[in-house]
């Protein structure tokens, strides 16, 4: 890792990266929701979204059996048709070895949250040990949480050093850095945290909106702030960073709006699951429902698609 000198104040960082106007950016993203996708372009978008899903279960009651059925769902989202597999399954570290049995060697990656997810409030040593354990068990991707306490108290150096330590612990595994945007609250904070994270991660690593465990999660607004940060970072350094909104994206329509934002902000190079993911569980079934509607011309009976992720 190149030695990165952390800015000493948020104000100095904004002088460098610029600020975000809340009203303006929300106006911009409202325009994405007026795009109208028909026929082939709709099917393309829906299939693309399926291929970008990190199919997630993060519950206290997760069992090897539940993870097994989640993995099968990820590999084959629907019994008929040619719907592609999802990008990954996302589980707690204890479940990685169980997921490995089902998706190991397939195109579906194993992502594991680590670093005392979702709060991150554990000693760094403990967090790193968790990352090591997940990687050793076979996690292809690690979803870490940033130290929001460090960010909000202005200890940017500490926040970045911790991310850098996790990068090292990841070894060959891809890293996704969760900013937990609802706890950062303002768009300015989200932009600042995005830059701080991007400066210490590798090309192809992700920044991610949320844990899905707080009141508000991914929105088009904070997705846009992060996409624009990725764009500015890429244009300045040539380093492409990937993006993962997570939590709260439940419908196919929402997912398409997020993808339109990607298409019109970062362009074609980000329209693949190496550069963009959805952290979601219920979303997959709505995508499948809409694809089946496009394929057959009619909505299928509701019992064909379980509303609850328990049904996967």
């Amino acid at each position: 890792m190149p030695a990165v000198k952390a800015p000493t104040s948020l104000r100095r960082l904004f002088d460098e990266i610029g600020t975000v106007d809340q009203v303006g950016i929300e106006e911009r993203v409202a325009k994405f929701t007026t795009r109208s996708l028909k026929k082939k372009s709709k099917v393309f978008g829906l299939r693309l979204a399926v291929s970008m899903v990190d199919l997630t279960t993060l519950e206290g009651k997760d069992t090897p059996g539940k993870v097994a059925s989640l993995c099968q769902k990820a590999l084959r989202p629907h019994d008929i048709g040619d719907i592609p597999p999802t990008a990954a399954v996302c589980v707690y570290p204890a479940m990685v070895k169980h997921a490995k049995k089902h998706v190991g060697g397939t195109s579906v990656k194993i992502a594991s949250v680590a670093t005392a997810f979702p709060s991150g409030q554990a000693p760094l040593k403990t967090r790193l040990a968790e990352v090591h354990a997940a990687v050793n068990d076979g996690a292809d991707e690690i979803d870490m949480v940033i130290n929001r306490g460090a960010f909000l108290s202005g200890e940017f150096g500490r926040m970045q050093d911790e991310i850098a330590a996790v990068v090292e612990a990841c070894g060959q595994s891809t890293l996704k850095v969760i900013l937990e945007v609802s706890e950062l609250e303002t768009y300015d904070h989200i932009r600042a945290a995005s830059f701080l994270a991007m400066r210490v991660i590798r090309p192809g690593d992700f920044i991610k909106t949320s844990t899905g465990k707080t009141s508000s999660n991914a929105t088009l607004g904070n997705n846009q702030v992060m996409l624009e940060a990725i764009r500015d970072h890429f244009l300045a350094t040539g380093v492409p960073i990937a993006m993962k909104p997570a939590g709260g994206i439940r419908t196919a329509k929402q997912a398409l709006h997020f993808l339109i934002a990607v298409k019109e902000t970062l362009g074609d190079d980000w329209l693949n699951n190496g550069r963009y993911r959805f952290g979601a569980s219920a979303l997959l079934n709505d995508l499948v429902r809409q694809l089946e509607k496009e394929r057959t011309g009619a909505y299928q009976a509701p019992w064909n698609f379980s509303e609850a992720t328990e049904g996967y």
Binding site: D21, V23, G24, R28, P203
Partner: protein, 494 residues
């Protein structure tokens, strides 16, 4: 293994290609148009006395939509007499509370017929359907709702004094927001107790005449609203008619000046809303992505057919390159084409004449030494279209920095200090609007106090609301529309 699987792009440019193209998404509902539109006089559609009609075409494909009645001075005379009669016998003495009910009814009917009106507007004028659907028609209804609320509260406009309507008001409106400009004119006039003779623009008469149908449906007393379609002579007849005691005109400065000359010596009241060459001023501390969004809204909204369009971008020299790069990237994803497609951002130019004017001014920009950039996007084979265009290296003496283009053409100038920005912004015969982009609140206040413009937007652009007065300084006209100030222009304070 991110390090090996992801390639860094040495060119460091984003690719806005065709990996995921949007399929056509045309709006297909029936706008319920007639083959032939007569004049709306005294509550009925009547043929013009001389029996002349002119064709109105769809600027997106140059096909004829309908025949529109051409009103001459005799037709205008009938309309004015009908209006005068309605004013004396019904409308002028009706309690405000009752007048308000009609206005509310018109507003609700516009909402009921919103889709039909949006499609008609796009068909006849060429603007993108998403704009007529999401802006023009809802905003037109909003103006009727707002003024309906004023109808029984007029005495609060001038506390301690009495107000009275003028009588018959002659109104001439432009083609850029046909129904919305009608609403801006008719709603306050009716709320104040006036009766109206309105002439829509020659190229966009359909929604105005459809509005006649709304008046019928609302049961508005005969003669309160009269719509006389036609060309410049029709407008002149409306304005010079002895019964019109107040005239309101929105359009070009050139025509506005000739109206002023023709009314000199009469005691007619007058409000004019004319051209503009607004400065959109971006300081180095502005949130640049949102400023770019505002620049795009400012100049490419409605194909730039906006009198308050932010057609001169003044950007602080230290961020000029960055703003330009962001702007180019942003306009790369603007979609130009069939206005009826829901994904179209820029529709058709309103008429062949306007396209010729825009083309001519853009040419002058090149010959006078400015640097032209456009997206090079594909344009439809038929119809009137113009690519989003930006000019850099523009100086204050260029025609494109001085004349109103009324099209999707942006002239970019730079400045170094706030004083220089003010000087350049105010160095124009116009003064309709301006925009200021900065993170510094005090600078917004200082600039807005010193900019000679009727509207100054801060960290946004092209925002409209019925409660907010709109109007110009200098050659951009006088009088206000919207809000309390706009309503007062339709009353005499006694």
């Amino acid at each position: 293994m991110p390090k090996t699987t992801s390639k860094t792009n040495p060119a460091r440019e984003l690719v806005f290609g065709d990996l995921w193209e949007y399929d056509p998404a045309p709006e297909t509902a029936d706008p319920k148009l007639k083959q032939r539109y007569d004049l709306f006089i005294n509550g009925a559609f009547v043929a013009p006395k001389k029996g002349s009609y002119f064709a109105t075409i769809n600027p997106a494909n140059e096909t004829k939509i309908a025949d529109i009645a051409l009103a001459d001075a005799a037709d205008v005379n009938s309309a004015c007499i009908a209006a005068q009669k309605a004013f004396v016998s019904v409308w002028g003495k009706m309690p405000g509370k009752e007048r308000g009910k009609y206005l509310y009814r018109i507003a609700r009917l516009l909402q009921d017929h919103a889709r039909e009106f949006a499609i008609a507007e796009t068909l006849d004028g060429g603007k993108a359907i998403k704009e007529s659907r999401d802006f023009d028609i809802p905003m037109a209804a909003a103006h009727f709702f707002y003024h309906a609320g004023w109808a029984d509260k007029l005495e609060h406009l001038a506390p301690g004094r009495k107000v009275a309507p003028h009588g018959v008001v002659g109104q001439v409106i432009p083609w850029n927001f046909p129904l919305l400009m009608l609403a801006w004119k008719i709603a306050p006039a009716l709320a104040a107790g006036n009766c109206v003779v309105l002439k829509p623009a020659e190229t966009t008469s359909i929604t105005a005449l459809k509005f006649g149908e709304i008046c019928q449906e609302a049961g508005l007393p005969n003669g309160v609203v009269n719509i006389v379609s036609g060309a410049a002579e029709t407008g002149a007849a409306v304005i010079s008619h002895p019964l019109t005691t107040k005239v309101a005109f929105t359009g070009s400065t050139e025509v506005g000046k000739s109206i002023m000359r023709s009314l000199a010596g009469t005691d007619k009241k007058m409000t004019l809303e004319l051209g503009g060459k607004a400065a959109n001023i971006v300081f180095d501390d502005a949130p640049l992505d949102q400023a770019v969004e505002g620049i795009v809204n400012g100049i490419f909204f409605n194909q730039g057919h906006v009198c308050c369009a932010g057609s001169r971008l003044l950007v602080q020299e230290s961020v000029a390159d960055e703003v330009l790069a962001k702007l180019k990237r942003r306009i790369a994803v603007l979609r130009v084409g069939d206005p009826m497609d829901k994904n179209t951002d820029l529709g058709a130019i309103n008429s062949r004449e306007q396209l010729a004017k825009i083309t001519d001014l853009a040419k002058s920009g090149v010959t006078e030494g400015a640097e032209k950039y456009d997206t090079g996007c594909k344009l439809p084979a038929k119809g009137f279209f113009f690519r989003p265009t930006i000019f850099t290296n523009v100086s204050m003496s260029h025609r494109i920095a001085r004349e109103e283009i009324f099209g999707p053409v942006l002239s970019i100038l730079t400045f170094r200090t706030p004083e220089e920005a003010l000087e350049k912004a105010n160095n124009t015969p116009y003064g309709l609007s301006a925009g200021v982009w900065t993170d510094k609140g005090s600078r917004i206040l200082k600039m807005s106090a010193q900019l000679k413009a009727g509207v100054v937007w801060a960290n946004t652009y092209n925002k409209f609301d019925p409660t907010s007065p709109f109007g110009g300084f200098k050659e951009s006209g006088f009088g206000r529309e919207g809000g309390k100030q706009g309503l007062l222009d339709y009353l005499s304070v006694v």
